[in-house]
Amino acid sequence: MNADTAAMIWLALGAYLGLGLLIGLGVAAFGLARLTPGAAHMPWRVRLLILPGLAALWPVVLLRLAGVRAPEDRT
């Protein structure tokens, strides 16, 4: 692996997580209740705790916000 490839990998990872952090902050502030009703009044320290997960899984989070769920979870 050369330096350019290594730089591309870190850049892609950083861009993914950076974008995820921005989306995660927005979701943690305004979108949690739409994800699951139990999160409507989640304390801020818990919102901070789940922020890394929001940054890592932001594509899934956006799908859930759009209402996409697996059939077995629509109960």
Partner: protein, 350 residues
């Protein structure tokens, strides 16, 4: 459960569990640091940071090995079940120790290079086409990323958002992470970064994990094979009198999920065996205060309709039952989650 989310649902057991965890990690580090400093040949003493790097790597690997042993141990003996209840704290601790290990490696081995440390991590050993010379640091980095995703999604919130199946599938990534770490340690030994003893321990640990999983799998397969074939879509769950009060027997249908057949006094109910939380085996739990309690994390369901008591909203599938000649039969086809079904009464059997 899903009515609200807190940082950690602390109770006395969890406090004791975490105290034992912290104490265990501290003792491991102390023993490893002492061995690192005192056991080195004269004149070849490693630096303090090198010893801490090795201790943190060994601690993270050992903790992950222990975590992976807990599941099959709990299936082999109920005495190991308490280890299972708070396993996520072990996982998060494992990730944090691995993160410290990675940060110190980056600082010590790549931080003084003229090349950016992150670039250096991936390029200092360019032999990606070699088997024995493959850069083992990259394997450790890949494992760290998997552990990060798992630690970041360990809170109950993620189970509710992702759904039990996706959450479980995501967390099965722990096996990929473990495989990468075994290769990380063994390649590191082959390339002279760690000793052969560490490589042997890593290999032995992997064999232990595999052996326990195989033993637990064989036991479950034997139990499944012993189940009676269904007749007219109904499964034989055995004698009603053999089901302990407040407990269950687990029935395996030809297709679909396992079924937990509970006895509550003279009443017999059947529900899906998998808890909605993390797929815990409800049939290994018990009925307390009128609710089935999952043995893993205490999630509760009413046996008559598979619903969690208010304000919680989880629902599991329920099954029709009947008692004939003292034997309990369960309809193999499940009812939709939350469907109320009248219990079979043992008194009616005679």
């Amino acid at each position: 459960m899903a009515a609200s989310f807190s940082l950690v649902g602390w109770n006395r057991f969890k406090r004791s569990y975490d105290f034992a965890l912290i104490l265990g990690v501290a003792l491991f580090f102390a023993a490893h640091l002492a061995a690192g400093f005192l056991g080195a040949p004269a004149g070849q003493a490693p630096s303090e940071l090198q010893v801490v790097i090795r201790a943190s790597g060994a601690a993270a690997f050992s903790l992950l090995t222990f975590i992976l042993c807990i599941g099959p141990m709990a299936r082999l003996t109920p005495r190991a079940l308490p280890l299972l209840y708070n396993r996520r704290h072990l996982g998060v601790t494992c990730f944090l120790i691995a993160l410290v290990h990675a940060a110190l490696v980056l600082l010590w081995y790549h931080g003084f290079s003229q090349v950016n440390a992150f670039i250096s991590l991936l390029t200092s050993n360019p032999r990606y086409g070699s088997f024995g010379g493959f850069p083992f640091e990259s394997l450790g980095l890949a494992a760290l990323l998997i552990l990060f995703v798992m630690a970041a999604t360990s809170h109950d919130f993620w189970n509710a958002v992702l759904g039990p199946r996706l959450w479980k599938a995501l967390h099965m990534g722990v096996y990929a992470a473990y495989g990468l770490l075994v290769a990380h340690v063994m390649l590191g030994a082959a390339q002279g970064e760690t000793g052969l003893a560490q490589a042997a321990l890593a290999g032995g640990s992997a064999l232990l994990v595999a052996g326990l999983h195989i033993a637990a799998g064989r036991r479950e397969a034997a139990r499944d094979a012993a189940e009676t074939e269904p007749a007219d879509g109904w499964l034989n769950a055995g004698l009603a009198a053999d089901i302990a009060d407040g407990r269950a027997v687990i029935v395996v249908p030809p297709e679909g999920e396992r079924i937990a057949v509970f006895r509550d006094g003279a009443k017999v109910y059947a529900v899906a065996n998998a808890c909605r939380h993390q797929g815990g085996p409800l049939g290994e739990g018990r009925i307390l205060d009128g609710c089935i309690v999952c043995p893993w994390h205490g999630f509760q369901y009413r046996p008559e309709d598979g619903c969690s008591p208010p304000p919680f909203t989880e629902k599991i599938q329920t099954y029709r039952t009947r008692i004939t000649g003292g034997r309990v039969f369960v309809e193999a086809a499940p009812q939709p989650p939350g469907t109320a079904i009248a219990p079979s009464l043992i008194e009616e059997a005679g």
